[in-house]
């Protein structure tokens, strides 16, 4: 090793090395950063050197490792924070109760809900089953540490085409293998912990082949007087590590997540993927919630990225103090771990509790009853420092503000003009029956029943609207899922996902707008009023100016619309460096929307209900074909990417919700991929009822635009016989009558569409199941 001369082993019965960075050359600093897995830049290494120069001593390996964790993109958002601050943070709303590890929002006078979505992309690209499972594990802990009982899981996933035949880039795994592993990981973890998987999505595109995206969201419910904090109460408290043992799995997870994937990532970084154990997690959640309910703790936080090294410092500093840690007391999976490995390990199923001394025995009793380990490992001190001891040896002694401060970058970015403003090349289309059937059987539209049925979406017995809706064993796609989270109360919570990566690739600003528009549309389609958001922003390497430009523009669009709609974003996550051999992923601003409905008995599902109802289009269709599914499928080029008229969206949502509240809408579905034609077809499939469409005196391309454009802020609504007048008066010029339900076929005479519902169902139902088996 090039810097051997700088290392000195302390004569102790355990491995501990002092690293003389004070006399290291720049070359040696960089080699050190790489070989020790710190992933720090030269400037960052200089800052560290200057700090220890001031301290007047050389650091230990455990101290350097701790800095590598704390200063990673994953932990400190050093590239994204400036942009997030400008556009997303600080949307104030009186219903925001906490912006902790998960956001917490008012549900009603007595209850609150917690929400958060984050990524687990890189681990899942290497080891899909474990990566996805531990993704679920991590997001559950974020919600539990607010004091909330998890009540819903949300899993939007992006993969390369599952039917890919061509050879794969080196080191890249086949999408079919990844899909099957990820779905199994979510199934086996989510089902075992007893939290329903209620929403999500599948996005298929060749640009996700090398670096799949696995985003995991969770929603919890908590009585408002049980919301807890993620930090200690003050000095003199005991910190109790509980849950799983600590091992070598998940070392350097955060630094692995903060770099591009390489050909050799599989071999290099498999150790960075943690191992999940839902049967430790399940009782751990019970025990944590029970000690919180009994007011025995002052705060709790989960051990996620960076493990102990992050949680101990952050919990103490937030309360203006520090802590002394007895690292030798941490229960281990195996003997022989070096202190630094214990300190940064991301072994799963662990939580840290803070408590007053007098409550510790009762806490330990409760954990014992649940057969879950709980071990006091640290004590808080008035100084803002972390000191780590092994037996009596001090092996770590750092200023917390320096340790958790981390660098902040204003990296250069470039924004290119959306291509569609100059080019708009219309594709060659076959007859419209074939177009519609192709759209329905495209994997991005086709039924996800193969996956959905493997997830328990009914556990907890509170599911009111589910991802699939309609007749038993003859279903179509729903919009948002709705739960009734508090027994005996009719108030409901709606959960949706919105994202359009294709729009975002062509026009990041409009892509950001569209993703939020979709999250809102899905909620409103079920009768839920959008209330708050969480986001997982998946982009490429921020050190490349064009990638950062996409990120900035997408965030700007999303943030401006969120502010206009007064939707706070009390939690979120950024995942950068989503690049692999074969290229960068589509820019993917995944947005999770939460909405409320006063009475779930008024919720509306997307399946068509009656013969003879009037069908209306809510919203305006424009020639905005850029990024649309028919352009992608049939070879169109460029085109305007759909934008959003902010005021019109607000007004449409308000009036449509009012109409639903008055019982004027029997079914409703949003227009997204494939436009109006696919929306109506899906309502027919779900309701097992046909429809006749009449789009007025238009023909040719205008008719194709009307049928297949993916303009935002649009829904199809079914209005029962006799209510048409009231509906039209309420909605005014926002709606256009487009036809009538009935029969066994979807017919649009002028457009030449004439398809049996049964045939559409077959084409929509089969593709994914056929490939996945």
């Amino acid at each position: 090793m090039a810097y051997d001369r700088l290392l000195r082993k302390r004569p102790l019965p355990f491995p501990l090395t002092e690293v003389d960075i004070l006399s290291a050359s720049d070359d040696e600093l960089m080699t050190m950063s790489r070989d020790m897995g710190l992933s720090m830049s030269l400037d960052e290494m200089h800052t560290v050197r200057d700090y220890f120069h001031k301290e007047g001593r050389v650091p230990t390996d455990i101290e350097l490792q701790s800095l590598g964790q704390a200063w990673s993109e994953h932990c400190c958002y050093k590239s994204s924070r400036v942009i997030l601050k400008e556009f997303l943070l600080g949307i104030e709303h009186p219903d925001v109760l906490s912006r902790g590890d998960a956001g917490v929002m008012v549900f009603d006078d007595d209850y609150a809900y917690a929400l958060r979505i984050e990524s687990h992309n890189h681990p899942s690209a290497i080891e899909p089953y474990g990566g996805a499972a531990t993704g679920i594990g991590g997001i559950l802990r974020d919600v539990v540490c607010m004091g909330a009982q998890p009540v819903a899981l949300i899993d939007p996933l992006c993969f390369g085409p599952v039917d890919r035949k061509e050879e794969l880039p080196p080191g890249v795994k086949h999408p079919r293998y990844l899909v099957s592993g990820v779905v199994a990981g979510i199934r086996d973890y989510g089902n075992r912990v007893g939290v329903p998987t209620l929403s999500g999505g599948f996005f298929f595109d060749p640009r996700y082949t090398g670096n799949c995206l696995v985003n995991v969201g969770c929603v919890g419910i908590v009585p408002r007087d049980e919301i807890t904090q993620n930090f200690v109460g003050g000095p003199g408290e005991v910190m109790i590590l509980c849950g799983g043992r600590t091992g070598r799995d998940g070392i350097h997870g955060v630094t692995f997540a903060s770099a591009e994937l390489k050909e050799t990532s599989d071999e290099d970084s498999r150790g960075a993927v943690q191992l999940g154990d839902p049967i430790t997690k399940e009782p751990l959640m019970h025990a944590c919630l029970e000690v919180n309910r009994r007011k025995l703790i002052t705060g709790m936080k989960d051990l996620g990225g960076g493990g102990l090294s992050c949680v101990v410092g952050e919990m103490a500093l937030e309360a203006g103090c520090g802590s002394e840690v007895r690292l030798d007391r941490v229960p281990l999976k195996e003997e022989g771990l070096a202190p630094w490995e214990i300190w940064v390990s991301e072994s799963q199923e662990r939580m840290m509790l803070a408590a007053k001394e007098e409550n510790v025995p009762e806490i330990l009793d409760i954990f014992r009853t649940w057969d879950v380990l709980a071990t006091p490992v640290a004590r808080t001190i008035p100084q803002k420092r972390t000191r780590v001891f092994w037996d009596d040896e001090l092996i770590f002694d750092m200023d917390l503000e320096f340790l958790t401060g981390g660098p902040l970058y204003c990296r250069p970015h470039t924004v290119s003009k959306p291509e569609g403003l100059e080019v708009d090349e219309w594709p060659e289309l076959p007859d419209r029956n074939r177009v519609l059937l192709s759209l329905l059987s495209d994997l991005n539209v086709a039924s996800k029943e193969w996956a959905i049925r493997q997830y328990d979406h009914e556990v907890r017995g509170a599911t009111v609207l589910r991802p699939l809706t309609g007749h038993i064993n003859r279903v179509g796609p729903g919009d948002a899922s709705v739960i009734q989270p508090v027994l005996g109360r009719w108030k409901g919570l709606g959960i949706s996902v919105g994202c359009n990566p294709w729009f975002t690739a062509l026009d990041p600003y409009n892509g950001g707008l569209s993703s939020l528009d979709e999250a809102c549309r899905n909620l409103v389609a079920t009768g839920c009023r959008p209330h708050s958001l969480s986001n997982c922003l998946n982009f490429g390497n921020p050190e490349k100016p064009d990638r950062l430009g996409q990120f900035r523009e997408a965030v700007r669009g999303f943030g401006e619309l969120a502010r206009h709609l007064n939707l706070p974003i009390p939690s979120g996550n950024v995942s950068l460096y989503n690049e692999a051999p074969g290229g960068v992923v589509l820019p993917t601003p995944m947005i999770m929307g939460l909405g409320r409905i006063d009475d779930v008995r008024k919720a509306v599902s997307s399946d068509m209900k009656h013969e003879g109802s009037a069908l209306y289009l809510v919203g305006k269709t424009k020639k905005e074909m850029g990024g649309s599914l028919i352009y992608r499928l049939f070879g169109g080029k460029g085109g305007q990417v759909p934008g959003v008229e902010f005021d019109r969206l607000s007004l449409s949502m308000n009036l449509l919700l009012k109409a639903m509240d008055k019982g004027l809408v029997r079914s409703c579905h949003d227009c997204s991929d494939g436009g109006l034609a696919v929306a109506v077809a899906e309502m027919c499939i779900a309701g097992d009822i046909g429809a006749e469409l009449n789009l007025g005196p238009i023909s040719g391309k205008d008719l194709d635009v009307a049928l297949f454009s993916e303009s935002n802020s649009r829904w199809v609504a079914e209005v029962p016989v006799g209510k048409e007048g009231e509906f039209e008066t309420l909605m005014g010029d926002l709606v256009q009558r487009i036809g009538r339900s009935g029969g066994t076929k979807l017919i649009a005479p002028v457009a030449g569409i004439d398809l049996k519902v049964e045939e559409m169902r077959q084409r929509w139902s089969e593709p994914l199941a056929k490939i996945m088996g």
Binding site: R187, P278, V372, R460, T463, V464, I472
Partner: protein, 271 residues
């Protein structure tokens, strides 16, 4: 007996995960349910938290993945109950107190030998098993069930014979098999068959109406005395009409189909 005097033990260990909704089912009917960890019944909990099975009127084994179900579904929980509680539990069943096992709870009852229990209250060895679904994977789907019991089972006294109800299913191992080739016939002779999977016309129709391939579409069975019920589908997930999968298409009453099972239990206990 007043409803609030009916004490229900909702038994759990790690991985039991349907205890809240099972608790709710009894709570809605005014009973006094309690979620009890097995450690509280076998002396492993701190003194204040210890409980005794004989103090309860009803035992409910909720769904979930007890101990992860990594061996055979329900096997570990059953082994732990057997070693700690078999005397208490046998007495509990012989006193004709109701025992209900839902999903994983059904698997546990079979592993325990409390079902089908042709020869004695608790067979020393399991005589049947809930085997992997024909689809070889976890299936979460609404299932329609026909009450085929002729009157022996106390848990369906509120459901007319032949009536079809909806309880959702969600399991990977729900196919009732036995070395005994006459299992279904014997169950039928003893009036131990309670529910069969059917289609919307009330007819036995195979997959997907029967989500696991269980022989003769058997979804739930009771013991010969009729006071131990095991079933794969989840009545506790259908307490309200608004958790039924197709309620938006119209409904006649706000009560969910599943509540009738718990009402029947209450009727029996209250006498």
């Amino acid at each position: 007996m007043r409803p609030e005097d009916v004490k229900v033990c909702v038994l759990r260990i790690e991985g039991t995960n349907c205890e809240d909704e099972t608790f709710n089912a009894f709570k809605i009917l005014g009973a006094d349910p309690e979620k009890v960890h097995l450690n509280q019944l076998d002396g492993h909990a701190p003194e204040l938290m210890q409980r005794s099975l004989e103090d309860y009127d009803v035992l409910a084994l909720p769904g979930g993945f007890s101990a992860g179900d990594y061996i055979r579904a329900g096997a570990i929980f059953a082994a732990r109950i057997r070693s700690a509680l078999s005397v208490d539990l046998t007495r509990f069943v012989e006193q004709e107190k109701p025992v209900i096992g839902i999903c994983n709870g059904f698997q546990i009852l079979v592993e325990l030998g409390l079902l089908p229990a042709f020869e004695e209250t608790m067979s020393p060895m399991p005589t049947a098993a809930l085997f992997t679904n024909d689809s070889a994977r976890f299936e979460c789907r609404p299932t329609l069930l026909r009450n085929d019991n002729r009157g022996n089972c106390l848990f369906t006294s509120r459901i007319p014979k032949g009536e079809v109800v909806m309880f959702p299913s969600a399991h990977a191992e729900g196919k009732l098999l036995s070395m005994d080739p006459d299992l279904v016939e014997r169950l039928d002779d003893n009036d131990q068959i309670v529910f069969r999977y059917v289609d919307q016309d009330g007819e036995q129709s195979g997959y997907p109406w029967n989500p696991n391939g269980s022989p003769d579409d058997v979804a739930g069975i009771c013991n010969p005395a009729g006071n131990v019920l095991g079933l794969m589908p989840h009545p506790e997930r259908a307490l309200s009409r608004f958790t039924h999968p197709d309620w938006t298409r119209g409904y006649e009453k706000e009560e969910g189909d599943g509540l009738a099972v718990f009402r029947s239990i209450m009727d029996h206990v209250r006498g």
